[in-house]
C-alpha cells in the first residue's frame, strides 16, 4: 500500500491543487485549438483528395516563420500582430494553391505512394529552405502588448494569450462549420468527400475545388503556425511534433471528419497537458496509447465511418 501511495503522490500529487489542474486544463485546451487548426486542414484535404499531406507540419512551420518576419516590424504591436496572422493565413493560402496546381494535380490519378512521396519531398525541401532563409537557430515572437500578462477567471489567473487562443480557435471552428454547411462551396466540398467522381460526373469543376480545399487547408495550418509563434520556439524543428500530433488526432477523430478533428484535438491537447504533469518523460506515449485504444475499439475513429 505504501508504495502505491508514494507512486500516487509522486505522479498525481498535483490533482489536489485545483489551480494547477485549471491552468493545465487551459494550456491543454489552447494547444488543442492550435492542433485543431492543423488537423482540420489535414482532414479536409484528405476527405476531398484522399491525399495524406505529410507536408502539413511544414506548412504550419512556414506560417510561424511568416508571422516571425512580419511581427518583427513592430514587436509587441497589436497591428503588426494582426498583419502577421494575416500573412500566415494568406501566405500559406497562396503557397498551398501553387503547390497543389504545380505538383499534386498531375498525381491524383497515380498510386498513393507517389502522392505520399511528393508531400514528403516537400518536407525536405521546405525544411531546408527555411534554414537557408531564416537560419538554423530558434527565434522568438513577442506576445502583442494587449495580450500579455494574465487574466483572472473562476478565481484562477490564466495567461491572457492562452485565453485568446481558445476564443480565436472557437471562432475559426464556427466559421469553418458555417463555410462547410451553409455555403454552396461547402456543400460541394462535402459532396466531394463522399464521392468525388460522381461530383465530377455531375459537371462540377473538381480541379478548382481540389485547389481551393488544399489552399484552405494550408491557410488553416499557416494561421495555426502564426498563432503559435508567440508561444513556441520558431525554429527548423518546429514541424516535427506538430505533424505527429495532427496524425494522432485524425486517426482518433476519424479521417475526413472536421468535427472529429475538433474533439480529438481537444482530447489530445488535454491528455498531453496532464501527461506532462504525471509522467514528464513519457507524456508522448500517452497519446499513442490513447490512439491504440481507439483503434482497437473503433478502428475508423470516433467520428469516422467504417469502410
Amino acid at each position: 500500500m505504501e508504495t502505491i501511495g508514494l507512486f500516487f503522490t509522486e505522479h498525481f500529487g498535483w490533482i489536489q491543487n485545483p489551480v494547477v489542474v485549471a491552468r493545465q486544463m487551459l494550456a491543454g485546451i489552447s494547444n488543442g485549438m492550435l492542433l485543431f487548426l492543423i488537423s482540420a486542414g489535414l482532414s479536409l484535404i484528405f476527405g476531398v483528395s484522399r491525399i495524406v499531406n505529410f507536408a502539413h507540419g511544414v506548412l504550419f512551420m512556414l506560417g510561424a516563420y511568416f508571422a516571425l518576419t512580419i511581427a518583427g516590424f513592430g514587436p509587441e504591436s497589436g497591428l503588426w500582430f494582426v498583419l502577421a496572422l494575416i500573412a500566415g493565413a494568406v501566405g500559406l493560402f497562396a503557397f498551398g494553391a501553387a503547390v497543389e496546381m504545380a505538383l499534386l494535380r498531375p498525381l491524383y490519378q497515380a498510386a498513393h505512394e507517389f502522392q505520399l512521396l511528393l508531400t514528403f519531398a516537400l518536407v525536405f525541401i521546405v525544411g531546408d529552405l527555411v534554414k537557408l532563409i531564416w537560419g538554423r537557430e530558434d527565434h522568438a515572437v513577442a506576445v502583442p502588448g494587449l495580450l500579455t500578462g494574465s487574466t483572472e477567471a473562476f478565481g484562477v489567473t490564466f495567461p491572457t494569450y492562452r485565453m485568446f487562443l481558445i476564443v480565436f480557435g472557437v471562432l475559426v471552428a464556427i466559421a469553418l462549420w458555417w463555410v462547410l454547411h451553409r455555403t454552396r462551396w461547402g456543400i460541394l466540398v462535402r459532396a466531394a468527400t463522399m464521392d468525388r467522381h460522381m461530383l465530377g460526373a455531375l459537371g462540377t469543376n473538381t480541379k478548382a475545388l481540389f485547389t481551393g480545399v488544399f489552399a484552405l487547408g494550408a491557410a488553416l495550418a499557416g494561421l495555426g503556425g502564426a498563432l503559435a509563434a508567440p508561444i513556441v520556439a520558431v525554429g527548423p524543428g518546429l514541424h516535427v511534433q506538430v505533424i505527429i500530433d495532427a496524425f494522432v488526432v485524425v486517426v482518433i477523430g476519424g479521417m475526413a471528419s472536421v468535427g472529429g478533428a475538433l474533439v480529438a484535438s481537444l482530447l489530445v491537447g488535454i491528455v498531453n497537458a496532464f501527461g506532462v504533469l504525471a509522467f514528464p518523460s513519457a507524456a508522448v506515449v500517452l497519446t499513442f496509447a490513447l490512439m491504440a485504444f481507439i483503434l482497437i475499439v473503433r478502428p475508423w475513429g470516433l467520428f469516422g465511418t467504417p469502410e
Binding site: F46, R50, V52, L103, P106, L107, A110, H112, E113, F114, L116, L117, L118, F120, A121, L122, V123, F124, I125, G127, D128, L129, K131, L132, V240, I243, I244, F247, V248, V250, V251, M255, S281, A282, V284, V285, F288, M291, A292, L295, I296, P299
Partner: protein, 304 residues
C-alpha cells in the same frame, strides 16, 4: 547470357569488390549492401503486398539498437547479438503489425508512421538504455571482423542469404498469394485465404529483415542514433524502392546503390542534402514513376 551466369558474375564481383577499395569506400560498400537488403525488405510490403508502410525505419532501428545495447552494455558477441536483434525486430513487427494491418491503404501508412514515432520517442527518452540524443557510439566487432574487409564479407554472406530467402518466398505460393492480394484482396478472401494473417506474416518477415539490416549497419558504422527511427528515415526505403523501380525484385537494390552513392557525393559538397533529395524525389515522382529499372526496360523494349 542467361540469368544464373549473370548472377554468378555479380556475386563474384561483389566478393572481389573490396580488394580494390580503401577502408572508406569499403564502408560505403557495406552501406550499399545494408540498404539494398533494407530496401528489398521494404519492397516485400510495397511492391509485392501493396502495403505502403511509412514506418519501416522502426525495425531497422530496433535491430540496430538491440545489437548496440547487447554489445555495449552486455559485452555479448555478435553471435548472440545478431539473433537477438532478429528476434526483437520480429516481435516489434508482430505487435505493430497486429494493430496496423487492421487497416490497409492510407490508414496503414499513418499507423505504421505513428508507431515508429513512438519508438523514436522511446529511443530519445530512455537515456539509460539508449543514450538518448547522443545515441550509442564506439561499437566494434571483436577479432577479425573488426577489419573492414572481413566485415564486408561477413555482411555480404548475410545479405546474399537473406536476399535468396526473400526471392524464394516471393516466388513461392505464399508470395503468389501475396501478389494476388495486392491486386484484389476481396477476391483472395473469397477464395478462403485469411488476408490479414497473410499480410501480418509478410509484415513480420519484412520487419525482421529490416532489423537484420539495422544490426549489420550498427556495427559497421560503429554507432546508433535516435535519428535512425525518426520519420524522415522511413522515407529512405520508399525513395530507394521507387527510385530503382518497385515492380521488380532487383529494382530496390539498384535504387539503394544509387541513393547511397548520391548521398556520399552530394553531402560531401553541401549540408543541404535533404533539399537536393527533395528535388530528386519530385523529379522522380513526376517524370519517371517506374524508376530506373522501369526506364531501362522501356528503353530496351523500344529498341527491339
Amino acid at each position: 547470357m542467361n540469368r544464373p551466369s549473370l548472377l554468378a558474375i555479380a556475386i563474384l564481383a561483389a566478393i572481389a569488390l573490396p580488394l580494390g577499395l580503401t577502408d572508406f569506400w569499403t564502408f560505403i560498400a557495406i552501406e550499399v549492401l545494408v540498404f539494398a537488403l533494407y530496401a528489398v525488405s521494404f519492397n516485400l510490403l510495397l511492391g509485392y503486398g501493396g502495403m505502403l508502410s511509412f514506418g519501416h525505419a522502426a525495425f531497422f532501428g530496433v535491430g540496430g539498437y538491440t545489437v548496440a545495447i547487447l554489445v555495449k552494455h552486455g559485452g555479448l558477441p555478435l553471435a548472440v547479438a545478431f539473433p537477438a536483434a532478429l528476434a526483437m525486430s520480429a516481435i516489434t513487427a508482430a505487435i505493430i503489425g497486429f494493430f496496423s494491418v487492421r487497416r490497409i491503404g492510407i490508414y496503414f501508412a499513418m499507423l505504421t508512421f505513428a508507431f515508429q514515432m513512438l519508438l523514436y520517442t522511446v529511443a530519445l527518452k530512455a537515456t539509460g538504455l539508449t543514450g538518448g540524443d547522443d545515441g550509442i557510439t564506439g561499437l566494434k566487432a571483436a577479432g577479425a571482423l573488426s577489419k573492414p574487409i572481413y566485415y564486408y564479407w561477413f555482411a555480404l554472406i548475410i545479405v546474399i542469404v537473406a536476399l535468396a530467402l526473400m526471392h524464394r518466398i516471393v516466388h513461392s505460393p505464399f508470395g503468389m498469394t501475396l501478389q494476388a492480394l495486392r491486386g484484389n484482396p476481396r477476391r483472395v478472401e473469397y477464395v478462403g485465404i485469411n488476408v490479414r494473417t497473410h499480410q501480418l506474416a509478410t509484415f513480420v518477415l519484412a520487419g525482421t529483415i529490416a532489423g537484420l539490416a539495422g544490426a549489420i549497419f550498427a556495427i559497421s558504422s560503429g554507432n546508433v542514433f535516435p535519428g535512425w527511427l525518426n520519420w524522415t528515415a522511413s522515407a529512405t526505403p520508399i525513395v530507394m524502392a521507387v527510385l530503382g523501380g518497385f515492380r521488380t525484385f532487383i529494382g530496390p537494390m539498384v535504387g539503394a546503390a544509387v541513393y547511397v552513392m548520391l548521398e556520399v557525393v552530394i553531402s560531401g559538397h553541401t549540408e543541404y542534402w535533404p533539399l537536393i533529395m527533395g528535388v530528386i524525389i519530385v523529379v522522380l515522382v513526376l517524370m519517371m514513376p517506374e524508376g530506373i529499372m522501369g526506364m531501362t526496360r522501356r528503353i530496351r523494349d523500344g529498341k527491339r
